[in-house]
């Protein structure tokens, strides 16, 4: 299933965008937590329909990219653009504008049932028919959630909980899905399944996906483009092929790029 630039002929002009226009874009964005610079002048973007990865070693600022988009991290300079307009809404508004976030560690509501967890993704939706349609769509994508819909989420395995977290994100009906380390702590066989599902979400629901991932080999199989961060700065941008052919990942993860700088 190896894919490269234009993984499956991504329609860059979908959703009314100009071919090269970005659906979601960070422009010279910096994030600072007191004296710690978590992101330093980072620019990156997603076109409609793409799957884009953000990679890098621990502390590179990968998760901060997603948190900044969701309004959960303090952006001190630069800007974030959503469909060409500056995104400066509070978190709850950002979700309603079409961006859903699946946080690291799954963060499911353990005492609620699987169905209730999914409903949490779209409780603000008034249209019961649309809610039901989304529920069926998610359960078609993840049959295990339908089979166990009345069970407590706490009784699910780690992999199943990750499927639930993905499904709950999709219940918001997002145009863009932000995934933070979706394979963290999962067995290799489950990791492959999660990546398959991410690709399937993109294919079947035409959802644009920004995925932060430490599993480089697996994620490069499914993405159109990838950004590599190192110490809060953008170290590389390219297609999976260009990344494989360059030494940038080795340099970043082994620290040589930093030494050269």
């Amino acid at each position: 299933m190896a894919m490269d630039a234009g993984r499956r002929g991504v329609d860059a002009g979908a959703a009314g965008s100009a071919p090269d226009s970005m659906l979601l874009e960070l422009a010279g964005t910096s994030v600072r937590y007191r004296s710690v610079v978590a992101l330093d002048d980072v620019s990156l973007g997603l076109r409609s329909g793409e799957i884009v990865a953000v990679m890098g070693p621990n502390g590179a600022g990968k998760s901060t990219v997603l948190r900044a988009i969701m309004g959960l991290a303090p952006v001190v300079s630069g800007a974030i653009y959503w469909r060409g307009e500056r995104l400066a809404a509070p978190t709850h508004e950002i979700v309603r504008q079409g961006i859903a976030y699946v946080p690291q560690g799954r963060r499911i509501f353990a005492h609620l049932s699987i169905e209730e967890n999914l409903e949490m993704g779209c409780l603000h939706l008034r249209d019961a028919a649309e809610k039901e349609r989304r529920m069926e769509s998610v359960m078609a994508l993840f049959p295990i959630l339908g089979e166990r819909r009345r069970d407590a989420a706490s009784g699910m395995s780690g992999g199943q909980q990750q499927m639930l977290a993905l499904g709950r994100g999709l219940m918001a009906g997002p145009q863009v899905l932000l995934l933070d380390e979706p394979t963290l702590g999962l067995a290799p066989i489950v990791v492959a399944e999660v990546f398959r599902k991410v690709a399937e979400i993109s294919e079947r629901l035409a959802t644009t996906i920004l995925i932060v991932e430490h599993n480089i080999k697996g994620v490069l199989e499914i993405v159109d483009r990838a950004y590599v961060l190192n110490r809060g700065r953008l170290a590389h941008e390219g297609t999976p092929r260009s990344l494989r052919e360059s030494d940038v990942l080795r340099e970043v993860f082994l620290g040589r790029a930093d030494a050269e700088r």
């Binding site: 959960l72 709850h92 946080p103 509501f109 005492h111 409780l123 603000h124 918001a172």
Partner: protein, 349 residues
């Protein structure tokens, strides 16, 4: 309202299933059986007069416990402040309805209004709600341990205000001659009538609580309880949800306060001391977090212990108060060790 009725009907249809489900938990079943039997035997033994008094105390404290469980149990916000709202409701009722001429008592006079009970009761709830908005806006800035400490601070401040704002509360002297419920010439003056009214209020508060927690609003409260930030990233204005449930809960406590001062016909600050607040939180934890029935069971246990201690033969009268607190403390420690979710609770603290 149709939604409310349809949910009630659905719950009634599920009742046998719930009963069967509750049988799965032997501890829950035994807790229910023991406490209800204990209550029944005790009331039969002591006779109707005793039952009327104990029943009214139960109903008022149960309103408090059910309302506190909305905040502590369902939303996961451990609050020690609840007794303050109870006190505000009690003082609002006392100040608005008291008709006593204090000059005759040769103590400091306060403004008296002579309102009827049913005009003052909503004001008791609204006054507590308004203060809760102000306190809640501040509390929304804090989480976890700091949140608990700030609610602790509010309980101390409210007690100090009741004690020291003598121009309004008559301080340690308290306020007398508080009105009983009356509609025209019909005054609910007897213990039986007051008990019936208090139980009606308890039923109303329990129904409102049930509607709150079984709605989508209640689902979000449970989600906030489990993971506040996760709820935020799914598009919920967590601060607003917390404030709304905080105010609803405070208004219920204010209502209980209004009932309490009318029943006792007297209020002073000592009924709203910090220890009472800690007892109330203990009752909610003992009964079980995030369950309305658990709150009722917790109060039943507390009232039975409170009254039952009077009949322990070897206990001198002057030690009864301390012994009650010690027994409640031991019960709390045992529960935390062996059943941290309380008698019939869904969650651990």
């Amino acid at each position: 309202m149709t939604t409310g009725f349809s949910r009630l009907a659905a719950a009634a249809a599920r009742a046998p299933v719930v009963l069967v489900a509750s049988r799965r938990g032997n501890v829950e079943l035994w807790a229910n059986l023991v406490i209800l039997t204990w209550a029944g035997v005790f009331l039969l033994w002591q006779g109707p007069g005793f039952a009327l008094t104990v029943g009214t105390v139960f109903a008022i404290w149960a309103i408090l416990a059910v309302s506190l469980n909305l905040v502590v149990g369902f939303t996961g916000l451990l609050s020690i402040a609840h007794i303050g709202f109870f006190g505000i409701g009690a003082y609002a009722m006392a100040i608005l309805t008291s008709g006593t001429s204090y000059e005759e008592l040769r103590t400091d006079a306060i403004p008296t209004f002579g309102w009827p009970f049913f005009a003052a009761l909503p004001v008791s709830a609204v006054a507590a709600g308004l203060v809760a908005i102000a306190v809640g806006v501040v509390l929304n800035r804090f989480r976890d341990d700091i949140f608990v400490l700030v609610t602790f601070g509010f309980a101390i401040i409210s007690y100090s205000v009741f004690l020291n704002w003598a121009e309004l509360t008559r301080g340690a002297f308290g306020i007398h001659d508080i009105a009983r419920p009356a509609v025209g010439d019909l005054v609910l003056d007897s213990d039986a009538e007051f008990l019936a009214f208090a139980v009606l209020c308890l039923a109303l508060v329990s129904l409102v609580s049930w509607l709150v927690v079984s709605s989508s609003f209640g689902r979000v409260l449970l989600a906030i309880r489990e993971d506040e930030q996760a709820a935020e990233v799914f598009g919920y204005r967590v601060a607003r949800y917390k404030l709304v449930v905080w105010v609803i809960s405070a208004m219920m406590a204010g209502l209980a306060g209004g009932l309490f001062s009318s029943w006792a016909r007297f209020v002073d600050p000592y009924s709203f001391a910090l220890l009472e607040s800690i007892l109330l939180v203990s009752i909610v934890i003992i009964g079980g977090l995030a369950t309305i029935w658990g709150s009722l069971l917790g109060v039943m246990t507390f009232v039975l212990l409170e009254e039952g201690m009077r009949f322990v033969p070897f206990l001198p009268n002057e030690s009864i108060g301390q012994a009650r607190q010690a027994v409640l403390g031991v019960l709390l420690v045992l529960l935390m060790l062996f059943r941290p979710q309380g008698l019939v609770g869904r969650y651990r603290l």
